[in-house]
Amino acid sequence: MVLQSSLKNCLQLCCILRSPKAGFRSTTSGSLIIQSISNDVYQNLAVEDWIHDHVNLENQQVLFLWRNSPAVVIGRHQNPWQECNLRLLRQKSIKLARRRSGGGTVYHDLGNINLTFFTTRKKYERMENLKLVVKALKALRPQLDVHVTDRYDILLNRQYKISGTAAKLGRTTAYHHCTLLCNADKFVLSSVLKSPYKGLKSNATPSVPASVKNLFEEDPSLTCEVLLDAIAEEYATQHHIDHHITLINPADETVLPGINNKTKELQTWEWVYGKTPKFSISTCFNMVYKDSVLDVKVDMDVKHGRIEVCNIDLPEQWLPPALCSELVKSLVGSKFCPNETTTLAATLLRVCPQDDELHNRWNLLCENMVMLM
């Protein structure tokens, strides 16, 4: 079937968004500044994916501005158990997301700004982007002591990290994104980014901890809005475009077809936890039961977020050995996840002798096992 199609719609973002610029496709640098109206980390990460997959960046570049409600974002190849306090996250209902770019773990809340610079592979240049940010900050407050390190961090007063960087390169396009601490909750930040899990051995990318400070602390007039505006202004100047920010709704399928699938994928357990590189746990803990203290030793191998090998060393006969081996057998192949372990343990109890003593000991062991996850 050969049909002549004379319409040449280019999948340029400005056209889809039907922004005031849309009508004409500019042949000069048609770069674009867009800002998300959503504070959902998964939706915003999905927008990055979408632009990376669908937008032609040959004749234009894109700057994407976004902020998230409280979330911990780990790098593509990181281990969430190693990087943050998952128990605390669950308690405080702080989301956990895995982004597609590399690098370390960061804490986002509405006091943190995220900037994503989209270019072609050829024009991928992180230093330039960060220098743009520093230029914007200095234009705003000339006395601000901010500079870019060779690790692509931005430091305030030569001491405090206010921005971290990560990047993703695909076949033809690339993006570089970075954070900027404006007025984030430092207390929550430091508590969630401290992992309580012991005995982990893994080749996952480790994060490099750093002392942080908010720009707000340096100068209270620096709000997120002020900073976003300044950066957009600098970008517009350097790319010879109008200082115009197009708002984008990450839930709108008509503007971003296929975006909801991307958002869903980022939320799946298989992506967030299942993509953790293989790791092992070798740890021991004490259980206090009635008048005695028991030593328990646990060894596990976890691959794709599931328990591959499991070994639990208990004092002899404290629990029926048959039951223990049933537990170990059930755990193998299950997700390394408190919910699943609890359910499995509760189920196993249904099919064994109904004895209060046994139940108490079993529950104690399982609670401690769950603490490892």
Binding site: L3, K8, Y152, T205
Partner: protein
């Protein structure tokens, strides 16, 4: 030598392939000429070393973090091969060729070097490495620079057939949104794109259409029963179903279900069903809901059902018992730990409310709220999930009337509640009125519970709910 023979054949048409047939012993097995030709090409395909190309920023080495393929897999051009990382940048390396992976040069977490081979791919010699495979218009590109990732154009995944279709219609693949796996562009996507451009009405796609039955006057050649019958359309295409079976191991929640249900199978179940008129209870709940709300608790019907069950169990304690493995002893449980089946994202869980016999309806409601929020957050503890003695399942929130619930060992009885429907019923005066009717289905362990006991318990439970004021008499 093999390759040479293939090359010479490629320029000559099929006629000459007969000569290939004669000389190539392995080809004698196959009768189809064309297949022959390709088979011999594959067996002596060209192995190309796919080198890791420049990452940018002067980076010379990266760490291999994930392989998407393994040796022996076949890949298409643009398929993802692996993920490498360098200094906070994660890079997806995609294939330049269609072919079969023959060798991976690195293991996970090893350092890979730019300019050095990453994988060996055996390519189809018949297809060659022609740059014209790229459908997208390319700006003038120096052809000497065959570095493997610097393909101008866009990250578009599409089979050669789809690419040809796009090319024939002057469509840039970058303009089409792919709906297949990994945003792969399917034939349907091209057709949909075209339809949008030209307003053409295209024949219905083979995916999920309700195909109306043919009018009887049409005569059809004997066709297979359902799917092949369709209204004659200008362009007919064969329906292609490309789904594949998927086998996964049973793990996690499913494993738990398998264990529980296998144990339940050993229990001889009998069922008993009835209908309950909840008209008065509905009214009562309406009155009490705001009071509970003031105290910060959401009041559903379940707390009433649970409390009524507990009152019933006081009269018929055998339903709150447990039979040991050898069926020698029955243990009458003192606590009424009534389980409430909950449907979560991961599957069925049954947390229980402890000691209902000493709790008020409000306290039960409060406890249910707590269990429900923990359940939906996936944070229920072992204590909440163990120790149940009797279970109620409110399947009616999803739908259904009568069901046949399965007893959860070590319990001996379970009740499943259907949905509340508004139905006409006769009152004492013989008048028809609007009644709020709910069905209940009980299952019990016939080894220690007989039908009469179950019936009497159900009647008592029913009377408490049909006339809530009567609960006041027996509340402790």
């Amino acid at each position: 030598v093999c390759i040479h023979r293939v090359r010479s054949c490629s320029s000559i048409r099929f006629i000459k392939s007969k000569y290939v047939c004669v000389f190539d012993k392995s080809a004698l097995k196959f009768s189809h000429q064309q297949r022959l030709f390709r088979t011999s090409a594959v067996s002596c395909g060209q192995i190309v070393q796919f080198k890791l190309s420049d990452i940018g920023e002067g980076i010379t080495e990266v760490t291999v973090k994930e392989w998407y393929i393994k040796e022996g897999d076949s890949v298409s051009q643009f398929d993802s091969i692996c993920e490498v990382q360098s200094d906070k940048a994660s890079v997806t390396i995609t294939s330049r060729y269609d072919g079969i992976i023959r060798k991976l040069h690195y293991n996970l977490d090893e350092i890979a070097y730019v300019g050095k081979p990453l994988v060996d791919i055996e390519i189809d010699a018949s297809k060659g490495v022609a740059p014209e495979e790229d459908v997208v218009e390319t700006p003038p590109m120096s052809h000497e620079e065959h570095t493997h990732q610097e393909i101008k154009g866009h990250k578009t995944l599409a089979t050669p057939a789809v690419r040809r279709l796009a090319m024939e219609n002057n469509i840039k693949l970058s303009e089409v949104v792919g709906t297949g796996k990994d945003n792969r562009i399917l034939k349907e996507d091209i057709l949909n794109y075209l339809a949008k451009q030209t307003g053409a009405i295209l024949p219905p796609s083979p995916k999920a259409e309700i195909i109306p039955p043919l009018p009887k006057s049409e005569t059809l050649p004997a066709a297979p029963k359902d799917k092949a019958r369709k209204i004659p359309v200008p362009v007919s295409r064969p329906i292609v179903f490309s789904g594949k079976d998927k086998t996964e191991p049973v793990t996690g929640f499913q494993k738990a279900m398998v264990k529980t249900m296998s144990a339940a199978l050993k229990i001889p179940h009998f069922g008993y069903c009835d209908e309950i008129d909840l008209t008065q209870l509905v009214q009562l709940r309406e009155e009490l809901k705001p009071l509970a709300q003031i105290r910060g608790v959401k009041l559903s019907f379940m707390p009433f059902f649970i409390k009524a069950a507990s009152l019933g169990l006081l009269q018929y304690p055998i339903l709150n018992a447990s039979l040991d493995e050898s069926c020698q002893n029955v243990t009458y449980k003192a606590s009424h730990n009534i389980g409430v089946a909950m449907d979560t994202e991961q599957g069925l869980i049954v947390p229980n409310v402890k000691n209902v016999q000493v709790l008020s309806v409000f306290e039960i409601a409060s406890e249910l709220n707590r269990l429900q929020s923990l359940g939906s957050a996936g944070q229920l503890g072992t204590n909440d999930l163990t120790g149940g003695t009797f279970t109620l399942s409110n399947i009616g929130t999803i739908g259904g009337t009568y069901t046949k619930p399965v007893i959860l060992p070590p319990e001996v009885a379970i009740g499943a509640l259907g949905k509340i429907q508004v139905l006409p019923r006769f009152n004492g005066k013989g008048e028809v009125f609007k009644a709020q009717i709910m069905n209940v289905s009980w299952s019990a362990d016939h080894r220690i519970i007989d039908g009469a006991t179950m019936a009497r318990f159900s009647n008592l439970w029913k009377s408490y709910l049909e006339n809530p004021a009567s609960m006041l008499l027996d509340l402790k």
